[in-house]
Each structure stands twice: as structure tokens, then as C-alpha cells.
Amino acid sequence: MRYAILLHYPERSPEELGDALAESQAAFQAYARDLTDAGVLVSGEVWQPSSATTTLTAGDGGLRVQDGPFADTRDQLGGQFVVDVPDLDAALAWAEKAPSVWWGPVEVRPSATHVESGTWVPST
């Protein structure tokens, strides 16, 4: 079963983070290594700040291209890990080790279906 571990947290600049930046990078490195060693990691990604995002909205006047995120909230979706583990308990065991759990909510979302060789296959 595949689960997305979604990391939400308030965005801070490297200047604001200071020493915490190197520390969080090291923590994410260790987390990625642990996930890989356990053979459960499908993919991992940490995104640029939401100021770099672009949102497309279809409306009456056609497609609108907009600067910034779809929802302007305090916590932003900052990254995600997709893991392949047998059940929610196992996914939660990994989610609680996500370094960002100390800065913002970590959401564990089961996958319904995913693409393999161009075809949608059930994730269970």
C-alpha cells in the first residue's frame, strides 16, 4: 500500500532559519537514508517556497495564470515522501520520524491509484 507523507509548515527564509537550516538538512538526509535502507521509499521531494509557485485556474474568460499558491495559508505544503508499506500503522511509524513534524502538521494520505508504465494501477 502506498501512502503520501505530506509535510506542511510555515515558510521561512534561510536567513530566518540560520543554524536551523543546516540542522534540518542533516535531519532530512538521515530520514531519507533510513527510508531507503528500510526499502520503503518510493519518492521524496521538498519544494521551493510557495512564492515560486504558479497556479492555473479555468474560468469564464479562459485559463488564468496566477502567481502564488492556490490557497494562501500560514502552513504551506512544503514537501512529500511517498512510501510503500503494508498499512497505516507502518506509515504512521515513518511519518512520526519526519523531521518537519516539529514545525508543522504531517499528513498521511493513502494512495488510491498510481501510474505504472503508462497505466493506472490500484495502489492497494
Partner: protein, 416 residues
């Protein structure tokens, strides 16, 4: 400048400062904090005094009583800070020398000897008004002088988060005016379990969050130091039992992981155990038992002692171990204790007896890794290979630390 800094007198002064701080940090801080009621202020004042010592001692020589010197200077710094700040305090600050320990004849003791207030400090750190999660970090920082970054690493929390929690706790101690005092026997009896729990928490942190710190980063040694300090400050059966437990348990740290694979207690090479720590633990356990009262930490220490006996006798007294597990579950019926009891019962009464004890735990243990690892082990011994496989696979799925995963995967492979 550099040449001057490296000259021998400066080096001597630096060494003297380092030695004094290492030996007396907690004692000095406890004394300052119990006097002014403000841990952060006491820490700043002491840091200031240390800095001043580095400069002054290299010029004027190391004073005859370095601790007394640091205490005097830090006290003056704290008073200066209190006077210069607009902060109002209704607490009378006695500017005279520190009072001698109650009951002691002031003339009979060294006038420079400093009273020990570390027990008061430990009780403040584990006060009911302090969040249980920050008690152990607070003890490690104030009593042992560990920096926030080191504590944060061991607890797998970002340094800034840990620092913030510590600052908040210290502010709370000051603002709520939590008293630095040793309460009477009855109240002490009620307050002590929280102190012991926090020290134990500092020890178990690396086993709890196993994918985080390695044994090297863990605070096992520091937690043991805290327990030994507590046992020396207080003639109490459980405090002594806890010190015994941490000595005996940490004696086996070097045997827990070999070639990156977890080694269960029964399979550990006893030559890798630290005999000096085993002996120290045994001595403490005898002292604890002399009190003639029973308690959780004494029982856990007695269990460790029963296992450590294998180094001498070559075998484990399974009946004694089972009896201790039963007593422990009576005193502290945690899930972990009940799973361990099932494993101990299986050794004496057979795997089926152990499985009978595990069955009622299935609900609460759904995501409890030790339950599944034990269940897998017992099913394998009972000859149920398919059941063992399923349970061990479940245990692997719930394991996030690599040495334990490797061990369980080895068990799975041995099922054929």
C-alpha cells in the same frame, strides 16, 4: 595576541577553569539558582564568571578555591543584573555569603565549602508544574551543563525547538516562583517518582526513537550520571534502584549491536559487557534492597542483575527471571512489561503459555513492535511457521531502526 594566549600560564588557567566547570557546574548553578530563584539569570551569571575566570586566572593565577571564586563572582554578576534591570523583585536577595548547610556548625566547616542544592534543583526540574516532556532535558542542561544542541540531538528535536522549550520552562520556574527546597518526607515521597521517571526518560530516549540518535549520540552515560548523583544525594530505595538499573543496563550497551545487527539479550556475548559497571550496579542493588521496600526500579534492576549473572554462571535462571517479571507487572502493568512477561513465561512454561499471555494484548498492541517481534518468536518455537512469518513481517513493518530490522529479517530468513 595568539602567542600570549598560547603561553603556559594561560593554558594552566584554561585547564583550571575547564576542570572546575566540569566538576562543579551543576553544584554552582544549583546554588545560584536556589538563591535567586531564576535559572536563566543564574546560568548567565555563571557563564559570565567563567569568562572572567579565563581572563583573570591567567593574569593573577588560579585562586586557592576556584569553586568559591566562581560562586562569588557569579553572585555579584547576578546582583548587578538584577539591580541594573528594571525588573522588580519582591524576593529578598541576601548579599551575604551563602548559608552553610542546615545543622552544620559554621565554625567547623571550611568557610569556602559550598552547600549542595542539586537535589533541590532536580526537584524543581521535575516539579508537577513543569511539562513532563521538558523535565529530563532541563535536568541534563542545568545539573550536568549539557548544551541545548546536544540535548536536542538526543531527543531528535530541532535545536531551536528544544532551546525554546527550555527557556519557557525556566521562565515558568521564575514567574510562578517554584521553590528550591527539599520537602518533608511525605511530600518528598510523592514528588520523587517524577524525578526518577525523568532520569529514566533521559536514559531510554535512544531506545524509544531508534531511527534518530545512535548509541554514541545518546545520553545513556549522562542519564546514568544523573541517577548516580541522585542516589548519592538521597538515601532512597528506588533512587538507588534506578542507579543500579542504569549501571547494569548500560553495562551491556557495547553488546547490543554487532556488525550493524541488533543482538537480543540472551544471545549477547558476555565478554562485551562492562564488568566494572555490572559490579557497581550489583553493589547499588544490594544497598537498595537493604531498605526492605519493593519498587519498580529495584525490580527492573534485579531483572538486569539476573541476566548479567549469565556472565559468571553461563546460564540464566529463568524461574527467577519469570518471578521478577510477574512482580514487575503487578507494580507497573505497562504494555512493554506485559509483553516481556509473556516472553519470560515462554522460557519456563513453553511457548504456548507465553502466547496465552500475549493473546489478550492483541488490541492495544496492534501497532506495538515488541508485541509482534515476541509473538513471531514464540510462534516459531511453537512450530507455527506461517503464523511466525506473519507476525515477524508485521514486526519488520513497524520497525524504523536498521539494526532491529536486520535482526528480524534474519529471523524471517531462518524460518526457511
Amino acid at each position: 595576541m595568539g602567542a600570549v594566549d598560547l603561553s603556559p600560564p594561560a593554558d594552566d588557567a584554561r585547564t583550571a577553569v575547564e576542570v572546575t566547570v566540569r566538576a562543579s557546574y551543576g553544584r554552582l548553578l544549583a546554588l545560584l539558582a536556589s538563591w535567586c530563584g531564576d535559572l536563566a539569570l543564574a546560568e548567565d551569571a555563571l557563564a559570565d564568571a567563567v569568562e572572567r575566570a579565563l581572563r583573570t586566572w591567567s593574569a593573577d593565577g588560579v585562586p586557592a578555591n576556584p569553586e568559591g571564586w566562581l560562586h562569588r563572582v557569579a553572585r555579584r554578576r547576578a546582583l548587578d543584573a538584577l539591580r541594573s534591570s528594571a525588573r522588580r523583585t519582591s524576593r529578598p536577595l541576601d548579599d551575604a555569603a551563602a548559608p552553610a548547610a542546615p545543622g552544620a556548625d559554621p565554625a567547623a566547616i571550611d568557610p569556602d565549602a559550598l552547600p549542595d542544592r542539586r537535589l533541590e534543583l532536580l526537584l524543581v526540574c521535575a516539579h508537577p508544574a513543569i511539562d513532563p516532556g521538558v523535565r529530563a532535558p532541563l535536568m541534563l542542561q542545568t545539573v550536568l551543563g549539557l548544551d541545548a544542541a546536544r540535548v536536542a540531538t538526543a531527543f531528535a528535536v530541532p535545536t531551536a525547538t528544544m532551546a525554546q522549550r527550555l527557556v519557557r520552562a525556566k521562565r515558568r520556574i521564575r514567574d510562578a516562583r517554584i521553590p528550591f527546597r527539599v520537602p518533608g518526607r511525605d511530600e518528598l515521597g510523592r514528588r520523587l517518582p517524577a524525578v526518577l521517571e525523568a532520569v529514566y526518560g533521559a536514559y531510554t530516549v535512544d531506545w524509544a526513537r531508534t531511527s534518530g540518535p545512535t548509541v554514541r549520540d545518546s545520553l545513556a552515560v549522562e542519564a546514568r550520571d544523573l541517577a548516580l548523583l541522585l542516589a548519592s544525594l538521597l538515601d532512597d530505595a528506588e533512587a538507588t534502584g534506578l542507579a543500579a538499573l542504569l549501571c547494569l543496563s548500560s553495562a551491556r550497551l557495547g553488546a547490543r549491536v554487532v556488525h550493524g545487527v541488533h543482538v537480543p539479550l540472551d544471545e549477547q556475548d558476555t565478554r562485551r559487557w562492562d564488568t566494572r559497571l555490572v559490579e557497581q550496579g550489583e553493589g547499588l542493588l544490594r544497598r537498595a534492597h537493604a531498605h526492605g521496600t519493593r519498587g519498580r526500579f529495584q525490580l527492573e534492576a534485579a531483572l538486569q542483575s539476573a541476566h548479567c549473572a549469565r556472565a559468571r554462571t553461563g546460564r540464566t535462571d529463568r524461574v527467577a527471571v519469570l518471578r521478577l517479571h510477574r512482580a514487575l507487572v503487578e507494580v507497573a502493568p505497562t504494555l512493554g512489561a506485559r509483553v516481556a512477561l509473556a516472553a519470560a513465561a515462554a522460557h519456563v512454561e513453553g511457548p504456548r503459555a507465553g502466547l496465552d499471555l500475549l493473546d489478550p494484548l492483541a488490541g492495544p498492541c496492534r501497532a506495538f513492535q515488541p508485541y509482534w517481534a515476541t509473538r513471531g518468536d514464540l510462534l516459531a518455537r511453537a512450530g507455527d511457521e506461517a503464523g511466525a512469518r506473519a507476525a515477524l513481517e508485521r514486526a519488520v513493518d513497524l520497525t524504523t531502526d536498521l539494526p532491529s530490522r536486520r535482526y528480524l529479517e534474519g529471523r524471517l530468513a531462518s524460518l526457511g
